[in-house]
């Protein structure tokens, strides 16, 4: 392998976004760092599977989320599901001005299922397109879209808010959010 063209040289620059995704996904810095570590080792040893010229950030995010969900499946078999502990907890409505307090928002976000957190971070916050998210998560684009809508609805529910007038057709927010960052490395 010619060391000058080793795609692994680019790994360090992706560490901040990889870690940010891990933290958003599992809501726990220690677990996030273990995930990032596993992802680095897997990426390093499987670099021959990376197609040069494609989006390395997407490739790394995919390894990370696959690792996360396979560990989670394994754990689920070993111990009883603890995910349900917080389910159903509702927060008080936000202050009268209607603005979402960041603290409440984080609490609500952390209560979402990992699948919902994942799709909201990937398709919304980190600027991947629905098509890219579909490829990364191994589901159809339509599934990504409906998952985003359900995740948003659940988030609103947890925040004690009404989803508003524009649930599915209200692509305004979604589209803007995606268009605002797609094409730009959010890292």
């Amino acid at each position: 392998m010619s060391s000058s063209a080793d795609p692994r040289d680019a790994l360090p620059e992706h560490l901040p976004s990889l870690r940010a995704f891990a933290i958003s996904l599992c809501g726990n810095a220690a677990m996030a760092d273990d995930l990032v570590q596993d992802t680095i080792v897997k990426a390093w040893t499987n670099i021959d599977k990376f197609q040069v010229g494609t989006n390395m950030r997407a490739w790394l995010f995919t390894i990370l989320r696959n690792t996360f969900f396979s560990v989670k499946r394994k754990r689920k078999r070993e111990v009883s599901d603890s995910e349900g502990i917080h389910a159903g907890t509702l927060y008080e409505k936000p202050a009268h001005d209607g603005r979402l307090a960041m603290n409440d928002f984080r609490k609500a976000f952390d209560q979402l299922s990992p699948e919902h957190r994942e799709v909201l971070i990937l398709a919304g916050a980190s600027g991947f397109s629905y098509e890219e998210v579909a490829e990364m998560t191994g589901v159809a684009v339509g599934t990504v879209k409906s998952r985003v809508n359900r995740a948003r609805a659940r988030l609103c529910e947890l925040l004690g808010l009404r989803a508003g007038e524009d649930p599915i057709s209200g692509a305004d927010g979604d589209t803007l959010a995606v268009m605002g960052t797609s094409g730009v490395q959010a890292a």
Partner: protein
């Protein structure tokens, strides 16, 4: 309006995590992997 706020807050969740200092252990790990490979 609400949707826009949710989008903004989601971005903030991610951006806040993005701004955290990446622990040195990851760069050290990459260096270890590199050295291990150089030996074989």
């Amino acid at each position: 309006m609400l949707q826009a706020q949710i989008d903004a807050n989601l971005k903030k969740v991610y951006q806040d995590a993005l701004q955290e200092q990446v622990p040195d252990r990851f760069l050290e790990l990459l260096e270890q992997l590199r050295q291990k490979e150089a030996k074989v």
